[in-house]
Amino acid sequence: VRRQLGWIAIVWLVLLCAVAVLTYGGRTSRQSLDARTQAVASGFRCLVCQGESVAESPSGFARNVRALIRRQLKDGRSPDQIRSYLVSRYTESILLEPPASGLGNLAWLAPPLLLLGGLGLLATLVYDWRRRGRDTAVSGRRAAYLARVRADLAAEGE
């Protein structure tokens, strides 16, 4: 039963990954200009607002940055080019997500590292429990009995 549960867990994880890839990996340029503008705009902080992205805010600043993103996308610029342009104008404070460099790395690396650490701890604990379980199983009278069986078998073999 335990082995079956393990398989179910693995299948479940694979399914989750597949759904994630299909959802986030399949974004192609086929999307409409509006959708792409909105997607790029959601990565920028509206600098004159409180905790709003450029995609959501009704402010003039956000509206104009959206218009700029739209124009640049239309001119064939990639989201990365637009990102580096806006960062060069407004510094990294315009990014909603921390940059993957310098101190920003910490924010990205910490969660997977913590997860790995947790899994490692769990694995060690499970290993430890199982070993201890085995040890107690062959202790005491049972161990003595096993020893006798082995001795008898050995004697029979001679």
């Binding site: 600098l47 004159v48 003039g60 600043f61 104009n64 940055v65 218009a67 700029l68 124009r71 806006l86 104008r89 407004y90 510094t91």
Partner: protein
């Protein structure tokens, strides 16, 4: 160049305006003053300049292209640009008499 982003309905822009007028009177022949009307109506900007003065060129900035290019996000903002086109100082919020004098003199002296 003294490049000033402003809007007729913005109170701090009204605060800083007399200092800009003074600086223009003092340095207007040596330094180019340029105003950029930020998200404003033409009539609003005209009325402001008629009421408070200011004879330097004021430009419209459709879609905020210039403002975004200068990283402007709140007005007023004032940029001091030297002869080689390098921004030497950026003032956010109402610019003061002291900043105007110091920064204009710095760009006039040239940067050693």
């Amino acid at each position: 160049v003294v490049l000033n982003f402003w809007q007729s309905s913005c109170i701090p822009c009204r605060t800083e305006h007399p200092y800009l007028l003074d600086a223009f009177r003092t340095y207007g022949r040596q330094v180019a003053f340029v105003g950029v009307s930020y998200e404003d109506t033409v009539s609003g900007a005209r009325t402001f300049l008629q009421n408070y003065g200011g004879t330097w060129p004021t430009l419209r900035d459709p879609d905020d292209i210039t403002a975004i290019n200068y990283g402007v996000y709140g007005i007023p903002e004032t940029f001091f640009i030297d002869r080689s086109g390098v921004i030497r100082y950026k003032s956010t919020g109402p610019v003061t008499r002291r900043v105007l004098n110091t920064e204009i003199q710095t760009i006039l002296r040239g940067h050693a």
